[in-house]
Symmetry: C2
Subunit: 213 residues, 2 copies
Amino acid sequence: MTAPASPPAPIRLLLVDDHPVMRAGMANVLAMDSGFEVVAQADDGESALVLWRQHRPDVTLLDISMGGIDGIDTMRRLRQDHPAARVLILTSSDANEDVRLALKAGACGYVTKNIRASELGDSIRTIHAGGRILSEELKRKLTEDDGSRHLTPREMEVLGLVRQGFTNDEIGRLLGISERTARAHMGTILEKLNASDRAAAVARGFETGILKA
Amino acid sequence: MTAPASPPAPIRLLLVDDHPVMRAGMANVLAMDSGFEVVAQADDGESALVLWRQHRPDVTLLDISMGGIDGIDTMRRLRQDHPAARVLILTSSDANEDVRLALKAGACGYVTKNIRASELGDSIRTIHAGGRILSEELKRKLTEDDGSRHLTPREMEVLGLVRQGFTNDEIGRLLGISERTARAHMGTILEKLNASDRAAAVARGFETGILKA
DNA sequence: CGTTCCATTGGCGGATCCGCCAATAGACTT
DNA sequence: AAGTCTATTGGCGGATCCGCCAATGGAACG
């Protein structure tokens, strides 16, 4: 009763990246493989959401750093409305925080842009088959320093103000708390980021990706 | 006596980018235009230099952030040996410092990766014709805050140590100068970066691109 | 209901920071 | 040769930081 070997339906893809040339590269690389079909492309998060609903792609390739809403937020919104959506993050950032947030927000995989073309295809197939993709290197980075890190929302607020040069006293007033409390937050921030002073804390923030330029 | 309209020789290109998919995109986009011929591709600075000597491309498209030696250093080395080499920086960074250093190191142009495919071709032609390329936006960014900025080598050393959490006293010892001198450098750093304390100075460093994650 | 995490606040004290004053010497530019 | 930039150092003092002590209330999780 088996039908004569008909080619399997291609995996339908949505590409999201704010670099036109990069999208052309993806489309080109994927076009060499008849197993894929690019059904739409977007260069920002908003249109990505619209296009997703229109085309219902099997897998979405999503960049993180984009103008407007970033890739993480885009994915959060997408998966809120469509929890079954399968997303592969394809970005140049290997910052810990980006990986962590992406996976937490429901990414099925995370690969960096220095991936080889052939591996990209494999990754997409894995994702489509219900698997997950995360390089050994990123796994290692995640586990090795995930111990105490990741600041609370309040601590992030404080760090954001520290970055702008506010004193503990000013931070207290800006957040409606006492200077003493701001200092307490500062203490835990220093400990969590393994920094010896606020300057080092800011640096660690940028290094880990919890602060963005 | 004019020869029958023969097509002009294509502009010979070398592509340098550590993202294979991105290179595929560039090659693909440029292949649509018969005026270009990609003669070689490199994914790091070392091989870029080798390939340049082998192929003597008319124009080199160069990314800045790469593993190994970065694009700026690659260009410095290239132009030291071959001052006539024409290079167009094609990168995702729009950090002030990257633009400034690239132009200083002899780039004929600087465009960001969110450029449209058609504009990319135009830019390359301009470069090849001996012109220079720099978007209005980047020009503006350069002039607007180039006033006091750009730290001296010594100040960069100090900022690098501040970033690691060293005190003025420690910095003095590490650099073989007095604590007082370290503090003086700190003072000028704060002034130049328009920062109110060392934490803000570090932040400004990352924002402007003089510090890298 | 107990545990854990988060946010909050207090006091004390030594270490560190940053601003303002001023000065010298070498290198580089014009 | 004059002027500019860079690196260097000194003193003084108030502002700020950070560590160590301890404690309370609420929310979340099991």
